[in-house]
Symmetry: C2
Subunit: 324 residues, 2 copies
């Protein structure tokens, strides 16, 4: 099975590649070759199978077609400009998140004209496709009314994925990732960055700014759970999806207060004392429009598995990023 990972240099992309090489198979089929693409050259990884790295921008003419040269059987499309950046740079957000996605789907369709080709495409969507009016718990058939350009671009990606799948051009599945915590490394430009920051920085002995109230409730998954979602999406029977090709993933609903309590259990009051409350009205008002919780019945019935508790999420961060 030949696999293409677009967005392979990102946090989730790198963890996915590690998991693919560790298991050596997807749904019982052996991985035979891996192509890793991103706008910055992905790190070369040691592997038993041929691994090709490509530095290329999916929104540039011809790139999508060239990425399909060896006709991969499975494509993970994780590449995206994050919410904060897509909001700050309107044109760049649409170019990467909408045009890039469409060029990929079009290249797949056109690759199928000369000879049959219908790869599995796992597309990472986002809970940002949902916006006001929002119930406290969002069900599986709730309408998509995004409140950001990023959410709009992801919602459009979901619509294209469903139509291209319905027409038989590809075999798509869109997974709406919860907010990933705890993100390792430095903060990125996502407006949701503080959800990770208030755990990551105190565990490193650093101060973290909390721009919203402790009562803010949100929907989370660990990077390990996110990789699990991707691998399950790659192997599952997509006939079960019908025409609804995108699914809200089973995250964990927790408040900022729940996060802080879990941090205190893990690292004591000296850690939580490093959280500095400094309300930021712009971030607070953006976050107020975000989903708080989902009833992810469909995804659970289809076998997707989330995290058990915020304590688990912190433990996974400590194990995977801080050496246990």
């Amino acid at each position: 099975m030949k696999i293409l990972v677009i967005g392979a240099a990102g946090m989730v992309g790198r963890k996915l590649v590690t998991a693919l090489l560790q298991s050596g198979q997807v749904g019982g089929q052996a991985v035979s070759a891996l192509t890793l693409a991103d706008v910055i050259e992905p790190e070369v990884v040691a592997a038993q199978v041929p691994v090709t790295t490509v530095a290329a921008d999916l929104s540039t003419d011809g790139v999508a077609t060239s990425l399909l040269a060896d006709r991969p059987d499975l494509i993970f499309h994780l590449a995206a400009i994050v919410s904060g950046e897509a909001e700050a740079d309107f044109e760049k957000g649409y170019r990467i998140n909408l045009d890039g996605t469409r060029y990929l789907f079009e290249a797949i369709r056109l690759a199928g004209v000369s000879a049959a080709y219908r790869p599995r495409v796992v597309f990472t969507s986002s809970i940002a496709v949902f916006g006001e009016p929002l119930p406290e718990v969002i069900g599986d058939t709730h309408e998509r009314t995004p409140l950001t350009s990023y959410g709009t671009q992801k919602a459009i990606g979901e619509l294209l994925l469903a139509d291209y799948s319905r027409r038989g051009f590809l075999d798509g599945i869109g997974i709406r990732l919860p907010t990933i915590v705890v993100r390792p490394g430095k903060p990125n430009k996502a407006a949701s960055g503080f959800f990770s920051g208030i755990i990551r920085e105190p565990l490193a002995g650093l101060e973290a700014v909390l721009p919203v109230d402790d009562t803010v409730r949100h929907w989370f998954a660990s990077p390990r759970a996110a990789v699990g979602f991707l691998l399950h999406a790659a192997a599952m029977d997509t006939v079960l999806l019908g025409n609804q090709r995108s699914l809200s993933m089973p995250g964990l609903a927790a408040t900022v207060g729940d996060e802080i309590a879990a941090l205190e259990r893990a690292a004591g009051a000296k850690a939580t004392a490093l959280i500095r409350r400094e309300r930021n009205e712009a971030i607070a008002s953006m976050v107020a429009g975000w989903p708080q919780a989902f009833d992810a019945k469909r995804a659970i019935a289809l076998g997707f598995k989330g995290d058990g508790s915020f304590d688990d999420i912190i433990r996974i961060y400590v194990e995977d990023e801080l050496g246990g």
Copy 2:
């Protein structure tokens, strides 16, 4: 008030132009100039104000920008490839229905860079944005899961309209038109054409083919009601829309049997005898996935008005198309 109508040569477009010129105003503001654009040159109409006609394809480079040369205050975007054709010609459907719409919105955004510009944009969407799973009556917050490429393109148009409105680039309102009956003239390529045909042809003494069962229930509006929706959308206070810029219009739910009964009341059994039942599985299975009825609470609360009965719909056709 300068007005641009894109798709002005279509059935609804022509009736809209007539109505605009008859009233001479929109929301109390006098119409000062009218530009009529379509892929085929719109008919020149007699008017008290300057009327310009343009034959141009919105999906062609530079066309959208040139249509905005006189910075219209109000833009009706009605241009679209219909459902049957968008399904038959995948590339053409996406080019006209998605690219054309996006080019228009982009040209508006870029026209606002040099000097403030934020026109009202009335976009005709469609109930084809809804697909399985469908409740018997579709509410105002139902998810969009289109089952056709046309419905997908319209759903994407709605998402773009909302995002461009939220960002302040335009002041958009999307109206999801019911299926328009009775369409005058010849059948077009829409799969829904028979809903008009079984009224129109018998009234002209011609045979009409009915490809589905009498029990099929669907959602209708007369052309006169459709023009009323467009004019109301052009004048209403869009602040009331919030971030939900697209609305299902108040149509009339009726079965094919209801249609035929109304035809019999209007023109007797000699008319209904001209309906030949010839089931077409392809059309029947497509229609089975279509919406049957809506609870259009929001639109009604915002002042949109539909038809009262199918008898009214036939009466309007006879008055407006057959000279009473």
